[in-house]
Symmetry: C2
Subunit: 311 residues, 2 copies
C-alpha cells in the first residue's frame, strides 16, 4: 500500500477494484492505510435521474481544483444488468477532467462486497482519503434506499431538486429529504422554481429545528455554473459546524458505528455458518420453506448449536 | 393466536401492530401460526408514485373477491416523517372495500422490527395467511431499495409503468425492472404507450431468457378496469409454473433463506453485543472514529472476545 499512500493513481484504482469485488485482501489493505485517513472532506450528491448531478459534480470539481484541492469522485450505482450505460455516460461527461492528475473519477457497482455497496463505498472513500484526495464527491446515480445509505455516510449531503417535479417530491423522496444538509434547486432558470422552493420550505417548516442545522436552499444552473460559489459557501458553513476542533463529529461517529456493526454482523454470521456447516443451514431453510419450522425458531436453534445461543 | 387462526380481524390487526413495533412476542406468535401458513398467494405491486398502484390494487381486489377469495392488502412504506400522508391517501382510496369483511387492508411502516421493513412485512404476510386470506396484495408506496426487497418476497411481482416516463426508466428503475414477472403498462390510453412498450421489450431483449419466465406486458387502464382480466390471467400463468405440485417453489425457498439469514445475523449480533457489553462496543466505535483502529480489525477483535472469533 505504500504506492497508494504516495498517491499513485494505478495503485488506488487497483485497490478500489479489490474493494468492489469483496477481495479477501480488503481488511489488510484498510488496516495498512486507516491511520492515514480522516483528512478528506466527503460531499454527497444525490437526486433523481435528470436532476443534473453530473453537471453539478463537474462544476464542483472545477471549484475545488481552483482552490488547489485534489478531488476524488465516486459515482455509485446499485448493481443492475440494466444500468451499465448510465455510469458510462457520467464518466464520458466527466472526461474534461480526465487528464487532470489531481482529479480521480471512479464508478462503483455492487459486485460482491460482503457489507454491500455502502460498506464498499466507505472503504473506497478511505482509500482515496489515504491517497491524498482532500475533497471527495460521492455521487449517486439514482435515489434508492441503498444510495441513501451511501450518501448518508458523507460529511455534507447535497440533495438536488429540479422545478417541475411537483407533487412527487413528497412521496418519491421520502428518506432523501431527511438526510439533506443543503438543498440545491438546479436548473433554476426553468419555470416553477419559486413553487419548488415554497414546497421545500413548507416541508422543512414541519420540523422543529431548534439548535440543529436547518438545510439552506441554493439555486443553481449547473450547466452555466451559476450559484456554485454560494453552494460551496453553504457546504463550507456546514463543514465549519461539524468536523473540526478537538471533537470528532457526531456524524463520523455514527458512520463508524454503522460500519462496525455491519462488519461485526457479517463476520459472526460467517463464523456461525462455518461452525454448523452449510448442510445444516440448508436443512433449516428447507424446514422453513416446508413450514415445519418458523424462521425465528430455526434461527434460535442454529445459533445455539454454534455456541452463540442465549434466549 | 386461536382467534387469529379463526380469522378474527381484530386479533389479526393487533398481531400485525406487534410485528410492526418489533415486539418481543413476535417469535412466539410466528411459532404458533407458522404451520398454518403457505396457502396464500402473494402478489407484489410496485412502481413509481403516480403510476396508479392503488387504483390497480382496487380493481384486483374486485376481481379476486368476485372469484370468491378472501383478499389481504399490505401497503408498504419505508419510515419517513414526510410520507405519512401518502399511506393515509391510499387507505382512503381503498375505503370502498372498507365494509367488506373478506377484505383486510393494512399499511406497514418501519417502526422498529429488528429485521427491518422486509422482515416485518414477511411476518405480516404469514399472519394474514394463517388468518385465512387466500390472496395477499403487497403494494409499495415508492420504489426504494427497501421496497424492492419487500416485493421481491412475493410469489408474483407486477411492476407498473406509465407512458411518458421516457428515458428515466433505465436509470430510475434499476433493480425494479429485474424483479418483474409481469409488466403492467397502466394508463395505456395515454399517448406514448407504444414507445413505452417498445422500450421495455428492447430492455427485455438484452437478456437470454432460455427456459426462464420472460415477463409478459399487459396494457391496463385501472380506473376503467380495462385489461384486468388479462393481467390476472398472466398472474395465473406465472403461478401455474411456480408454486404448486409437490415441489416447494424456488422463490419460496429463496425467501426462506433470506429470512433465516437475516434473523440469524440479528440474533448472533445481539448475543455478541450482550457478551462484550455496550461499553466495549462504544470503545470500538470511538477507536474507529478517531482512526486508531480500522473497522475490520475492530470487528475481528470484538468477535474474538465474544468467543465467535476465527481467522
Amino acid at each position: 500500500m505504500e504506492r497508494l499512500l504516495r498517491g499513485d493513481v494505478r495503485a488506488l484504482a487497483r485497490a478500489i477494484t479489490l474493494v468492489e469485488e469483496g477481495s479477501a485482501r480488503v481488511p489488510a489493505m484498510l488496516r495498512a492505510v486507516y491511520q492515514r485517513t480522516g483528512r478528506a472532506y466527503v460531499i454527497g450528491i444525490t437526486g433523481s435521474p435528470g436532476a443534473g448531478k453530473s453537471s453539478l459534480v463537474n462544476v464542483l470539481i472545477d471549484h475545488y481544483r481552483l482552490a488547489g484541492k485534489r478531488v476524488g469522485v465516486i459515482a455509485v450505482d446499485p448493481s443492475s444488468a440494466f444500468s451499465g450505460g448510465a455510469i458510462l455516460g457520467d464518466r464520458i461527461r466527466m472526461q474534461r477532467h480526465f487528464l487532470d492528475r489531481k482529479v480521480f473519477i471512479r464508478s462503483m457497482a455492487n459486485r460482491g462486497h460482503v457489507g454491500g455497496l455502502a460498506e464498499a463505498t466507505h472503504d473506497a472513500v478511505d482509500l482515496m482519503d489515504a491517497a491524498g484526495y482532500e475533497i471527495i464527491l460521492l455521487e449517486t446515480v439514482g435515489v434508492g434506499q441503498d444510495e441513501v445509505e451511501v450518501v448518508d455516510g458523507a460529511d455534507t449531503v447535497c440533495v438536488i431538486l429540479v422545478p417541475g417535479m411537483g407533487d412527487d417530491i413528497q412521496s418519491l423522496k421520502a428518506g432523501i429529504m431527511e438526510i439533506a444538509h443543503v438543498f440545491v434547486l438546479n436548473k433554476s432558470d426553468r419555470p416553477g422554481v419559486d413553487r419548488l422552493q415554497a414546497e421545500v420550505e413548507q416541508m422543512l417548516g414541519l420540523r422543529d429545528w431548534q439548535d440543529a442545522w436547518c438545510p439552506p436552499l441554493v439555486r443553481t444552473v449547473a450547466t452555466g455554473a451559476e450559484g456554485i460559489e454560494e453552494l460551496c459557501a453553504r457546504i463550507a458553513d456546514h463543514r465549519a459546524m461539524g468536523v473540526g476542533g478537538d471533537a470528532v463529529s457526531r456524524r463520523r461517529r455514527e458512520l463508524s458505528r454503522t460500519r462496525f456493526m455491519t462488519l461485526l454482523a457479517n463476520r459472526v454470521l460467517a463464523e456461525v455458518v462455518r461452525r454448523v456447516g452449510p448442510a445444516r443451514v440448508n436443512e433449516a431453510v428447507e424446514a422453513i420453506a416446508a413450514r415445519r419450522r418458523d424462521p425465528y425458531t430455526a434461527a434460535a436453534e442454529v445459533a445455539a448449536e454454534a455456541g452463540v445461543g442465549d434466549s
